[in-house]
């Protein structure tokens, strides 16, 4: 079982000293991957319900620091050599895939092929409104963007002709270090996310820990993969969880190969101790 850390860019980890300490210590402790989160802006007084909390509000409140999800990973790339650098998630339909393709290829080159692109289709309608984008076509934009990214990463020259994105032939260099492009992991725990992962994902990452719900989603994902002639077993399964051996064993029984947990502390000392504990009590045993 691979163990990753979530939320590595937000709140106190927006400060470079704590981010550096987290990244270097996590790598030493055998943490497999570091995952960043994204909201480019939080519209004041938003009404769309945050899907990961009962009160429907983003943890930390509207004034929480949420840095860009890619730049902290580039900073970490310079300080580490093994740990994977991942977004969890980038809100893909809000961005233009030509920029995402170039940014990710750059990061993959700088990190010698350590990147994973976790994507989501977004839930905060007011954030789409601020960007002048139609919230209701986010699904179609997400699907097109994934295909466009792969065209840019793998083809030269590259072309893509969709309803929302339309380009080419064009050149985009550098290409990613990873052959075949950067793995695209689909985040989210809706049936739509499960189907997208089955159709288009290199991985599926519902950021929940409920085993029954995960099992149901994986079933939907597998059905959709079969429908599209894809090998469902090749789609890597991740989930959110707590660093607890019994829970992790239950996840392994569902076919999950990566569990992503919150950072075990929010200052240097607690992080150091928490990561050592994670290494000895979990990573060494799973």
């Amino acid at each position: 079982m691979k163990v990753g850390l979530m939320f590595v860019n937000s709140g106190p980890f927006s400060q470079p000293e704590l981010l550096a300490h987290l990244a270097v210590s996590a790598e030493q402790c055998g943490v497999e991957s570091l995952w960043t989160v994204e909201h480019v802006v939080i519209p004041q007084g938003y009404q769309s319900p945050y899907p990961y909390a009962k009160d429907g509000k983003i943890p930390g409140g509207e004034d929480v620091a949420i840095p860009d999800p890619l730049l902290p990973l580039s900073y970490v790339a310079a300080l580490t050599t093994k740990v994977k650098l991942a977004t969890g998630v980038m809100i893909l339909p809000q961005r233009n895939p030509l920029y995402v393709a170039k940014e990710m290829a750059t990061l993959d080159l700088l990190s010698h092929g350590r990147t994973i692109l976790g994507i989501g289709s977004g839930w905060l309608k007011e954030e789409f409104d601020a960007l002048g984008l139609d919230f209701h076509v986010r699904g179609a934009r997400t699907d097109e963007a994934i295909k466009a990214l792969r065209a840019v990463w793998n083809d030269n020259p590259s072309s893509f002709h969709g309803k929302h994105f339309n380009f080419g032939p064009l050149m985009s260099f550098p290409k990613p270090a990873q052959k075949g492009g950067i793995p695209v992991v689909i985040g989210g725990h809706s049936p739509a996310a499960a189907r997208r992962a089955g159709r288009l994902g290199d991985g599926f990452f519902p950021a929940i820990a409920d085993a029954a719900k995960l099992k149901e989603l994986f079933g939907i994902m597998r059905d959709e993969a079969h429908k599209h002639g894809r090998n469902a077993d090749a789609i890597e399964l991740s989930c959110m969880g707590r660093a607890n051996l019994d829970t992790i064993k239950a996840f392994a029984d569902l076919g999950i190969t990566r569990v992503v947990v919150p950072p075990p502390g929010f200052d240097k000392e607690k992080l150091t101790r928490g990561l050592e504990k994670l290494a000895n009590e979990i990573i060494a045993k799973v």
Binding site: P43, L71, A77, S111, A130, L170
Partner: protein, 285 residues
Amino acid sequence: MKIGILFANSGPLSRPELFGQLAREAEEFGFESIWTVEHVVVPQPHMPYPGSKDGQMPGGDEVAIPDPLIPLAYAAAITTKIKLATGIVILPQRHPLYLAKQLATLDLLSHGRMILGIGSGWMKEEFEAVGVDYHARGVRTDEAIAALRALWTENPTTYHGQQFHFHDVKSLPKPVQPGGIPIHVGGHSPAAARRAGRFGDGFFPTIAKPDQLKEIFALMRAAAVKAGRKADAIELSAMAAPRLDAVKAVQDVGVTRVMFGPPASSPEKLRAGLEKIANEIIAKA
């Protein structure tokens, strides 16, 4: 005189080993700044490049031009003093909500070492590929500058323009630099000079001829005065040949920062080239 290195991210410098070496050694030898360039894509075919006689881009259309921001975060992690700059980001092709967040993140990661150099773009086909109206690039550039400054200094932030509109959004973190990140307007057209006069914290024509610079600085100053701004507060950068006499010649027309291309693209020659500039120019200019 401040000395910077332009084209810090492109071609062989797209590789982390060489880029990391450039960032570290430029800092070690007293360079003030490194500057990255941008083309998100190079469509086939495209308009002639205005910076060369044959219309070809330096290095050709397949040259590696990494994203201009991602390498600066990498450099922030391995340096402590050198300024990190874009020269330039094609501003009207991007949405200011993203750029504001990206630059604020970089400013935080680098402890306030960012400079945002911007241009309005020239390659029509690149705008078409990203789905942005080429003919609106001037107004988009002006609005994006205003929107960036609002996002960097106000919480919540509201901006209502012709191209960008948003109301009471929270964009945190803010940059470390009080008042936001300095915006240097690149380009050597009269439109760029007027934009620098009206809105710039700096003006950066990527040319090296003192006579041309003098002319375009006068245009910039006239625009600043007309806008009720203090022209002397607008920092002037330019290119120059890497020789002391060439640097002094642009200094005489008011330039306080010159930029050179990277002196070499192999590890040994890069170090030797940076050291030579340090001894022959930085120590004396």
